[in-house]
Structure formats: C-alpha cells, structure tokens
Symmetry: C2
Subunit: 401 residues, 2 copies
C-alpha cells in the first residue's frame, strides 16, 4: 500500500510541488535564491533523510524535461549575435583547460590512478548553465554583459567538454586518434551552425507564416505545440551528437526568439508556464539525488578540496581571459563565479566513468557532491557577495502563511 | 543504440508532440475533433503498426498528468452549483444501471462465465469525461445545459461505478457485505462534500489572501505552483479513496474557479498551457495503448456487439432520465451520446479484472477496444450529427504546410 502511494504519479507531483513551495518560502526567509531552497529541501525529503521520494525514472524524466524547458526559455531571451562572440570562445577555452589540469593534479595527489584522474579532470570542465542563468533571471540581470558572457561561454564550454571527454576516453584506451577528435569537433560545429541557420532562417520564417494560416486560427494552441516540439527535436539532436540536450534546447530558443505571433497562443508565455512547474521539479530533484549516507571522513576531505579546486580553477580560468578581452574587474569576477556550477553535466560524466569501470562509488559520490556544492555555493556568492542582495528585514513581508 | 534513442526523453517528447501536430492536421482535413486525429495517429505509431513508441512508464506517467490537468482546466470553468444538481444524479444513476445490465447479459450470451460477466457489466458503467469535455470545449459548447449535465452526471457516475466495482468484487467472492458498500459510499460522499467545502471556502480564500502578500509579489509564479499542487493533492486523495484521480482534479478546479488574481501569475492560463501539451500527449497515448495484433475474428465480433451495447445502453439510460427531468429532445440525445465514451476508466477496470484472474487476455482486449471505439465514435456523432459541424470545404483553408 505504502509502495503504491510512493510510486503514484499524483503523489509524486504533489510532494515535488509542495517541496518547491517550501523551498521558495525557505529561500525567502534566508534571503537566498529559490533554487537553493529547492535543492536543500530536496536533500531533506530525499532517500538519505526523510525518504519521502526516491529518484524514480519518472522523477528523472520530469527533471530532464525541466532542464530542457528552462534552457529553451532562457534561449528565447537571446539573439544569436548576443551569445556567439570570439571573446566568449576565449573565456570558455581557458575556462576548460585550467579546471581540467587542476582536477587531474588533485586526483593524482590522492593516488586515484591515471584513468580516474583523467575523468576527474574531465568532470571539472563542463559548466551547468541552468543554475546561473536562473539566478541571474531571478535578479533581473539576464541582459547584463556578464550574464551574456556566462551563457555564451557556457554553451561553447559544453562543446569543449565533449571534446575533452572524447580525448580522455582515448587516453585511457591507450591511443589518441586525432581523426576521431576531429570528427567530434566537426559534428558539434556543424550542429550548432546548421541548427542556428535552419532555426533562424527557415523554421522561424515558417512559424511566422504558419501563424497566419486558417489552421492556426482554428487551433491557436498548435503554435505552442510546434515550438515545444522544435525544442525537444533540437535537444534530441544535440544528444545524438554527444552534446547535452540542454544545449540543443537553448539553440532552439535562440532560433525562435523575436517572432511576433498574432493568431496563435504565445509559445514564449506557454514555455515560461511549463518552466515554472518543471523547473521547480528539476531543482528539487537535484537535491533528491544526493545520498548523504555514503559519505565518510575521507570522502568529505576529498570533496571539500575538489570543490575548492573546481571553483578556484574556473574562477581563474575565466577571470583572466575575461579581463584580457576587456571586461571590467567586477564583471570578470561574476563571469568566473558564474561559470563555476557543474550541475548535471559533471554528474553525467561521473556516471559514465563509473559505468566504464574507471573508478568506484567513492569517486563517483565525490564528483556528484562537488557538482552539487558548486551549484549551491555559486548562487550564494553571486547574490550576496557580488550583487549585495544581502539580508534586509524590510525588503520582505510575509504574513499570511 | 536504437533502444537508447527510443527510451530517450527528448525523443519521446518530440515524437509525441509531432504526432499530436499531425493529429491536428489530419483532424482538420477530415473535419473531425483533434482528439480523434491524435488517437488514430497514436494507433499508427504504436506497437502494432510502426512501433515508433511504446507505452513506457514515462509515457504512461505523462498521460496520467495530462488527464489530471485536463480535468483541472475543465473544472476551472464550472461553479459548484452548475455541476451538482439532483437531476444529474438521476441521469447518472439510470445511466449506470442500464449499461451494467446490458454488459452483463451480452457477456452471459457469449458464455464468458459469471465473474467475467459481472466485470464486463462494471466496465460499461463508467463514463470518461475527458473526451466529451474536450470535444465540447473545442466547439465552444462547454457552457450549454447539455455539457453541464454531461459533466455533472459523469462525475457522479464515476462514484457510482466505484460502488458497482465494489459490489461486483464481493459478488465474485461469494458474499455481499452491505457494510463494506456503505463504507465506500460514505467515503466518496465525504470526500466530495469536504473537498468542495474546504476548497471553496478555505483554500480559495487563502489563495486570494496569499496573492496579496509580498511573497507572491516577489515570486508571482508561486501561486501557479500552489494551484497545481492543490490539483494533484485532490487527485491523490481521490485515488486513495478509490475514486479516479481525474474526479479529484475536477473538484480542485471547481474549488479554485472564480478567484481574481492580481499580483501572481494566472494559474488558469498556466494550467491551460500545461493542458495543451499534456492533453495532446494523453490523447496520443490512448492510441498507443491499442495493440491491433491480438484481434481475431471472434474477438472482433464481440467487440462490435459490445460497443453497440455500450453506446445504446448509455444512450437509453441517460436519455430517458434527461427527458423526464425536463431537458429538450436534442439536449437529451446529446447527453446520452456524450456519456458514452468509456475511455481510461473502463481500461482500468479491465486491467483489474485481468490481474485478479477473472478473465483472460481476450476479454481484456475486447474491453479496451470497446473503450476506445466508444471514445472515437462519440466525438464524431456529437460533432457531425448532433451539432452539424460536417465537412464544409470553405470553412477551412490550409496552405502553408
């Protein structure tokens, strides 16, 4: 009976949304981003503490939907020329090399072996844009130079991480083939290039025309279905190529930015509403993923050092090129910290290393915790330290709960 | 690799939305309800024909979400006093008794045995409101007397079906306990009564007040999260009591009808956007469920007769009390046909009978197909025959696809 309830769809949705609500309230009380409240409460209801919810395939699926929808919504706020600039490529490149070296060295210091060290380095390369983008959105800072640099560099960063992953796998196997690496680069560049051209010229023109048809007048909801379908198709294509699905969803959003819809429903509004529900579920589920039970003192030490290395290497690796390309000091620091959350990308790489047998549960858990800690610490630093949105008792009244 | 793609979330979403889109186009071409187009294309991509998608747990979960959200949206358009009227109870009662007897007799004629016959009768009792409500919505007829009668009677009908199910199970076990049946009645009546009072007086007042807080001003999306949480909590409670989740979601919608939201986002709009995506998935998935491979000539004969009996008994069982309670002839016919779709409720009862060992795959498949056929036939009859929305070449232009 209890098992029945726990696996019940309505129960899982109720509890996830209830926890999201509590997360907002907690975040408001401690004056942090809602994301932090949701992750913390996710940990509390997860398997290691209350055990009210487990990371079932259904929750996993909803969280994936959430990540895809969030990046699609974020993409809808950017023009192509805002995101793809040479200086962002420069920031992304150095911001991948420094953490890779840092992660590799720290793992070698702990004597985890060559293959493990390569994977630890790889896991430190990829930035998770969902967190920072959402925090900047909450603060209304999404259209600042720093935010654009973070998002542009994070997208390019994801492509570079993919290349590092391919390189690491070949290193472990013993022979590096530049042909294979070249192919990976080619596929990624082609996908982004073709995806943007097709999206910006063909799909968005087609949607603009479709909006004027009688079919769209008869079924105004169709345009929203089409837009979401395109988001998921781009996400799928990105995954097939080996990029993460969210990069595809972001590209779809960028492609569909700026189309004026007259007859049909606003897909931007619709995607935002979807993002509210599934975004909340995504952030709660990040907390549910954390099983605190497996942590020993040794692992804790490694996790703390690894997290510090992860943040410092990304900070240095992005701050320096940002400064060199002419950004001011504060913006460069924001970019450095903003690129720090590793989130789900590092978790995916960790899972891959575990499945390939390169390391055991201990390093896997360490990487997951590092990803989570960078994810929790970054919004706190950006909000409270960099943008001075510290506690202010008068800012907030809260009477009716 | 292929398995990987088929179980990929982005792939499943893309294909479901793509099929929904094609379903709209097909429906428009043959001038039918979008629901029909979606179900037919669902059958085509399902396991028996193209095999592009299977009814995975994830698809099942999304479909359940869809059914809950649709009924919540429908509920948001009704006041309590619109739905719960004595004459709707009368329509529901006779509309349950006649199909039960009809189903029982036809199954006895085919010599399927007493237990099977009781379950076939039971499966014919419950109306699926999702289909008819959606068709009436599409046609802009949701605020007519007939639509109100259908929805009111269908909700009560669901409660009565639950009682019939309890009764049938006890009959098969050999001893009918009126105490147990009384308890089932009591729980259902209490849930509906308390749910409506709590929803209409306490929750809706609380939401109205919450909308004015600074928290709601800071996070306008919170009110939408709360509304959806309430929908799923009501759905969960209904399931725990033994009613179907969608009845709970409908009650939640009725409870939250008519609240004016100023600071927060409109949860009605948000729920409608969710309903567009997940409703489409729900209707496609009904088609995916159908495995045409298992059909033999014998089963086909039984299915056809059973479907005819299902429609005729519901038509008679609802038409007569509707006429007696003073509705005009046309409205009474619309109510009779509108109550005919059995949809997911009959499928759930069929699955229960199969799992309890009362009958084998043949009767199970027959019940599922009957549920589907009534679901496909009803919108066609209502649209084309009763409301005369027949083919009209000039009504629709379609140039840009």
């Amino acid at each position: 009976m209890l098992d029945n309830i726990l696996s019940n769809i309505a129960f899982q949705m109720s509890i996830l949304l209830c926890v999201a609500l509590a997360g907002y309230i907690l975040a408001s009380r401690i004056n942090q981003s809602a994301v932090i409240g949701e992750i913390i409460l996710g940990i509390i209801i997860g398997p290691s503490l209350l055990g009210l919810i487990t990371y079932t395939d259904f929750v996993k699926g909803l969280a994936e939907l959430g990540a895809i929808i969030i990046l699609f919504v974020v993409g809808l706020e950017f023009k192509v020329q805002d995101v793809f600039k040479p200086k962002y490529f420069f920031i992304a490149l150095i911001g991948v090399i420094v953490p890779f070296i840092g992660g590799f060295l720290i793992s070698e210091m702990f004597n985890f072996g060559f293959a493990s060290s390569l994977f630890v380095g790889t896991a430190l390369t990829a930035t998770s844009i969902a967190i920072t983008a959402n925090v900047m959105r909450e603060m209304g800072k999404l259209q600042t130079d720093a935010a654009k640099a973070i998002i542009g560099a994070a997208v390019i960063d994801d492509v570079l991480s993919l290349l590092v992953l391919s390189f690491s796998k070949q290193m472990v196997a013993g022979s590096v083939s530049f042909g294979v690496i070249g192919l990976v680069i080619l596929k990624a560049v082609l996908f982004i290039g073709i995806g943007l051209i097709v999206g910006n010229y063909f799909i968005s023109k087609w949607i603009w025309k479709f909006d004027k048809t009688a079919l769209s007048k008869k079924y105004p909801e169709l345009i929203f279905i089409i837009a979401m379908m395109i988001a998921f198709l781009y996400a799928l294509t990105a995954e097939l190529i080996g990029l993460s699905a969210i990069v595809g969803a972001f590209l779809a959003g960028v492609s569909l930015e700026g189309i004026t819809i007259r007859q049909g429903k606003s897909y931007r509004e619709g995607a935002e509403y979807l993002g509210i529900i599934f975004g909340a579920i995504f952030f709660v589920s990040l907390g549910v993923l954390v099983d605190l039970k497996v942590i020993t003192w040794n692992i804790m030490l490694f996790v703390l050092i690894l997290t510090a290395v992860a943040i410092i290497t990304k900070l240095i690796g992005c701050y320096i090129p940002a400064r060199i390309s002419g950004m001011n000091n504060k913006d460069s620091v924001v970019v450095g910290f903003g690129m720090s959350p590793r989130g789900e990308v590092a978790m995916i790489i960790a899972l891959m290393g575990l499945n390939l047998g390169y390391f055991k549960q201990d390093i896997y858990v360490s990487l997951v915790l590092m990803a989570l800690l960078t994810t929790i610490i970054t919004p706190i630093i950006i909000r409270n330290w960099l943008y001075n949105k510290g506690p202010n008792p008068k800012e907030f009244e809260f009477k009716h709960i």
